[in-house]
């Protein structure tokens, strides 16, 4: 707890830029996890983190104000668990998100619940808890724009990001 001074704003910039690898690289991918991505020639295999997005599917979706992983979404997490067993050195961060139809602070807590629900399910499927971090972004990083149910459904999500060492 004795975190001391963080310093001035300028110093923040550098440090944050260095962290971009943890952000959601598959933001453009739809719920099916990779439709429309052009396969690259076999000679140039995708980095692991991109393989994960394309071959496995990086995200699950939630109902309004819910954080339980629904049956049709579990298939995605089953594939994620199988893949993580295959690439056993890979670590991930699960990012939890909410739509804009809640209050900001509650949505931070809700995003945390969603990320944790995915983590718990992956642990249940045999993945070591130490390989999985979680972070909540609440409603702060929508992937779909538009104030309608179609966009909100896309934004109520938990996205698994490969953070290391595979890429």
């Amino acid at each position: 707890m004795r975190f001391k001074v963080i310093g001035m704003v300028a110093a923040l910039a550098l440090a944050v830029t260095a962290c971009e690898s943890t952000s959601e690289s598959g933001a453009g991918a739809s719920g099916s996890g990779g439709a429309g991505v052009t396969p690259l020639p076999a000679a140039e295999p995708l980095p692991l983190k991109d393989q994960f997005v394309v071959d496995v599917g990086d995200r699950v979706f939630f109902s309004f104000d819910r954080f339980d992983v629904e049956p049709d979404q579990k298939k995605v997490l089953d594939r994620q668990a199988a893949w993580l067993k295959k690439f056993s050195s890979v670590t991930v961060t699960v990012e939890g998100h909410a739509d804009e139809r809640g209050t900001r602070e509650y949505n931070l807590a809700l995003g945390e619940r969603r990320a944790n629900a995915v983590k718990e399910y992956l642990i249940y499927l045999g993945i070591d808890a130490k390989r999985i971090k979680t972070v909540s972004y609440g409603e702060e990083r929508p992937v779909a724009l538009g104030s309608d149910e179609a966009a909100w459904a896309q934004n109520r999500r938990a996205v698994t990001i490969v953070t290391g060492p595979g890429s």
Partner: protein, 465 residues
């Protein structure tokens, strides 16, 4: 900083104002209160009051500097009073007696003719040490009595603050309650979708930055540069510090920003996300949520001893805590009953009781500085509302409604709320503008507060000490 008394022709009292930024005003009451009570009053507890017609004349100065300051001060006072919704400044083109001629006693008949009920006159002067001397008098036009007279010394650059202090004095003399003009607002500035420039990166897609300004939108400045996502700033009672949430290094945690030094310091060393911070009324503690393993609980941290106490122990989402002004109770929202509702507990986490029972979800409660009400955000039927209720949950009143409005914050006198309103976003990302709005506790006088860019998460300061 020096305090200097001034010669008063009549009986006077001396008051001093503590400085905000290395400057000081000396206050002296000019003249004698000849009336025990003012004839003109405004009852601000009523619903839609008829604004009081008031004539705010240019403060008269002999030098160019003093004259300019006098006009500027009068302009700010008139604008403050008008914005309160309780006063109606009279168009100066209607004035019969010139401001210069007011140096003698007002010709009250000239002011009655134009239906002014109150008259504000003043003088400005740059004195020998370079400071600005500002005096003003408030007159009851019908009884022909002086209601208040005050004088201030300050550095000339500080004329705007003097105008706010005078506005508060006028407001208090006529309404009987403290004003709220000498205050600031901290909030989160956002970049509209197509904005260029600083901010707006992948980690902070809306370019959110902390910003601070006077309550009227002036003296605006940014406190952070937009590389890091920041949320929910709140003032300490001293105004020297702001607590907020930052995603610095992608670790969402509660921070403290020191306004004087610009330093940002993470609060504590918690194993999970900390968020939803607010200072205790004495500024010595911060109450907030910490999320661990998916569960959010409320904690309070003593800023000196760094001792942390957990107040809630429940698998539900417990967040958005706010102390009562006496610090004995805390209001927060929780979904422990199945949906998001407001609860009150004592400051040790005991005696938890639900206070909201209407249709819908209740969120972001904040206790009025007067202690008599709790403001909240309500979600019902796909709409958002700003409302208030008594601390026992009775007397719920909804003041504003829209697609998305959230995050009320109280004026220090507990009479006005500021919140933010966000519009609908189109598929292409256009629209969705977010702005700050104020509304009287009566539900009247809703107004936008101008900001350079989009704005959210407002927090209103106490009166500047």
């Amino acid at each position: 900083m020096t305090i200097r008394a001034m010669y008063m022709p009549e009986k006077f009292t001396l008051k001093t104002l503590a400085p905000l930024v290395a400057l000081l005003a000396v206050v002296a009451l000019l003249g004698e209160m000849r009336t025990a009570r003012a004839e003109i009053t405004i009852d601000i507890t009523r619903g839609n009051v008829e604004p009081l017609p008031i004539a705010v004349t240019d403060f008269v100065g002999q030098s160019a500097t003093a004259s300019r300051a006098g006009q500027d001060i009068a302009g700010v006072i008139a604008a403050n009073l008008e914005r309160s919704g309780l006063f109606k400044p009279i168009d100066r083109k209607a004035f019969i007696q010139s401001a210069g001629a007011l140096n003698a006693l007002p010709r009250f008949g000239d002011w009655r003719v134009i239906n002014a009920q109150a008259l504000v006159q003043g003088r400005t002067e740059v004195v020998s040490d370079g400071r600005l001397r500002v005096e003003f008098r408030l007159w009851d036009v019908f009884s022909e009595q002086q209601m208040i007279g005050l004088a201030y010394f300050t550095v000339p650059d500080n004329w705007r603050r003097v105008a706010h202090i005078i506005s508060d004095a006028i407001y208090k003399r006529i309404t009987g309650e403290d004003g709220y003009f000498d205050t600031r607002i901290v909030y989160v500035s956002e970049q509209p979708k197509d904005a260029k420039g600083v901010g707006r990166n992948k980690l902070n897609p809306f370019g959110k930055r902390l910003a601070i300004m006077d309550q009227d939108g002036e003296n605006h400045r940014f406190l952070t540069d937009g590389t890091t996502l920041v949320l929910t700033p709140r003032f300490s009672p001293t105004l020297q510090e702001i607590t907020y949430m930052s995603y610095f290094r992608n670790n969402p945690r509660v921070y403290i920003f020191n306004i004087d030094t610009g330093r940002q310091e993470v609060l504590g060393d918690f194993p999970g996300m900390t968020f939803a911070p607010r200072f205790s009324p004495d500024g010595k503690k911060i109450i907030m949520s910490m999320a661990k393993d998916g569960n959010s609980e409320i904690y309070v941290m003593d800023l000196r001893t760094r001792v942390v106490r957990q107040l809630t122990f429940h698998s539900a989402i417990d967040t958005s805590p706010s102390f009562a002004p006496d610090a004995n109770q805390v209001v927060f929202n929780s979904d422990r009953g199945g949906s998001q509702q407001l609860y009150v507990m004592d400051n040790r986490g005991k005696n938890v009781r639900r206070i909201s029972f209407g249709n819908g979800r209740y969120a972001t409660p904040v206790w009025s500085p007067r202690g008599d009400l709790i403001a909240f955000t309500k979600l019902s039927g796909g709409r958002f509302f700003i409302g208030v209720m008594k601390p026992d949950g009775s007397g719920e009143r909804l003041l504003a409604e829209d697609f998305k409005i959230e995050g009320p914050t109280w004026s220090p006198n507990g009479r006005v709320l500021i919140f933010y309103r966000k519009g609908r976003t189109a598929k292409d990302g256009s629209g969705g503008a977010s702005k700050l709005w104020s509304i009287d506790l009566t539900g009247h006088n809703e107004r936008e507060i101008p900001t350079p860019m989009d704005a959210s998460d407002p927090a209103w300061s106490p009166l500047i000490p």
